[in-house]
């Protein structure tokens, strides 16, 4: 049975200044059953709406007219109120704005969706951001979802964490396994599929 999602009580803040994107996004959210949504065209307007807004999700264009989206995201991630601080943030980026993907991710966005937004991709990202069990990481320079959720190692310029296993290879403390022992761990077996 298909999993079902109920967006009826979800309140979304959409920060978008393009007239076409706004119209399209409103239709998409309505189609999802998400009828509680507020649109703002600037980062400053978003900052004034967020504190009293009780938003559950933020969808933000990567290029805003009054500030970089990264600045808005960093502002959100530094709010005292947990419901604001940890809000899932989905960033929309255009064809020519790829360079901002890294900056908004490093500002604390949960995920990035390329425009034009297709309903299936946006929905998948919204659900993923909502259900994700990625912990939030707080450091001097970064507050946001853990960026190490893919097995690609730490970002450039960032060292290993204290809890990481040592990168140093020490001397062997037990005899090496024989080739036969290794083969027995990975012995292929025939399986019949009916």
């Amino acid at each position: 049975m298909d999993e079902k999602f109920n967006f009826a009580q979800v309140c979304a803040l959409v920060v978008e200044n393009d007239q076409y994107s706004t119209a399209i996004m409103a239709q998409i959210l309505r189609g999802f059953g998400l009828s509680k949504h507020v649109f703002t065209a600037t980062g400053e307007e978003a900052q004034s709406r967020i504190p009293g807004g009780r938003f559950d999700l933020m969808i933000c264009e990567s290029v805003l007219p009054d500030m970089p989206a990264g600045d808005l995201i960093r502002w959100v991630r530094r709010q005292e109120v947990p419901e604001i601080r940890f809000i899932p943030i989905v960033v929309l980026t255009g064809y020519t704005q790829i360079s901002v993907v890294v900056s908004v991710r490093d500002a604390g966005a949960n995920c990035v969706v390329r425009k034009p937004v297709s309903p299936n991709i946006l929905l998948d990202h919204m659900i993923w951001a909502a259900k994700s069990d990625r912990p939030f990481i707080e450091t001097e320079d970064y507050i946001g979802p853990c960026r190490r959720f893919k097995n690609v190692g730490p970002p450039y310029g960032v060292g290993r964490r204290k809890t990481d296993v040592s990168a140093e290879l020490g001397e062997a403390v037990q005899p090496n396994m024989s080739q036969e022992e290794i083969d027995s761990l990975m012995r292929p077996t025939k399986v019949s599929i009916e």
């Binding site: 298909d2 999993e3 079902k4 999602f5 109920n6 967006f7 009826a8 009580q9 979800v10 393009d18 076409y20 994107s21 119209a23 399209i24 239709q27 998409i28 959210l29 309505r30 189609g31 999802f32 059953g33 559950d56 999700l57 947990p82 419901e83 940890f86 809000i87 899932p88 064809y95 020519t96 993907v101 890294v102 991710r105 966005a109 990035v112 425009k115 034009p116 937004v117 309903p119 299936n120 929905l123 998948d124 659900i127 909502a130 259900k131 069990d133 912990p135 939030f136 990481i137 707080e138 450091t139 001097e140 970064y142 853990c146 893919k150 690609v152 960032v158 060292g159 290993r160 964490r161």
Partner: protein, 173 residues
């Protein structure tokens, strides 16, 4: 490397809200959203010629035979609006042409200025494939895209470099 850090396991309100009874399946949500978006088609597609016209006005207003980096940046914003329309409503050929223009503009912006000529070629191509223009045959479409690629090759630009860079970075994010 940061000296102090902490890890917080967060459970957002939305996680519980979307699990409440009475929801719809993913396929139902996507179908409803797609249908709702397509209702905007007629209203929004009619803006395509105006958006192309706005780009033409910038090119026409160029001082001498060159467009500044600022002009190109402004044109790229307009091109993004066109891509929203072309991508959302399946105007595939227009989408391809506008992306080629974006690749051109982004590729030459670093040089500080660009001759109007290659930009004008792309703008004329956009007019040819605009929804209010007569449709082109398959052969004409192929020729048009091939000629635009020649312009890129002449300027020493990689084809669709923005697309490839975007795919790599989107996967990282």
């Amino acid at each position: 490397m940061s000296r102090g850090w902490r890890s917080i396991h967060v459970r957002n309100r939305i996680t519980d809200l979307i699990r409440r009874p009475g929801g719809i399946s993913r396929s139902q949500a996507v179908k409803a959203a797609t249908t709702d978006v397509q209702r905007l088609r007629e209203d929004l597609i009619q803006h395509v010629p105006d958006e192309i016209g706005a780009l033409e006005a910038i090119a026409d207003g160029a001082s001498g035979d060159y467009l500044s980096a600022g002009d190109l940046e402004t044109m790229l914003e307009g091109a993004e609006r066109l891509l929203i329309l072309s991508g959302t409503f399946g105007l595939t050929l227009l989408d391809e042409v506008v992306k080629k223009f974006c690749d051109l503009a982004a590729g030459v912006i670093e040089r500080g200025q660009c001759s109007v000529a290659p930009v004008s070629v792309h703008l004329r191509a956009m007019r040819l494939v605009s929804p209010d223009s007569p449709p082109l045959s398959n052969e004409e479409q192929d020729n048009l895209l091939r000629e635009l690629s020649k312009v890129h090759a002449h300027l020493g630009l990689a084809e669709h470099h923005l697309a490839e860079e975007g795919d790599q970075i989107s996967q990282q994010a």
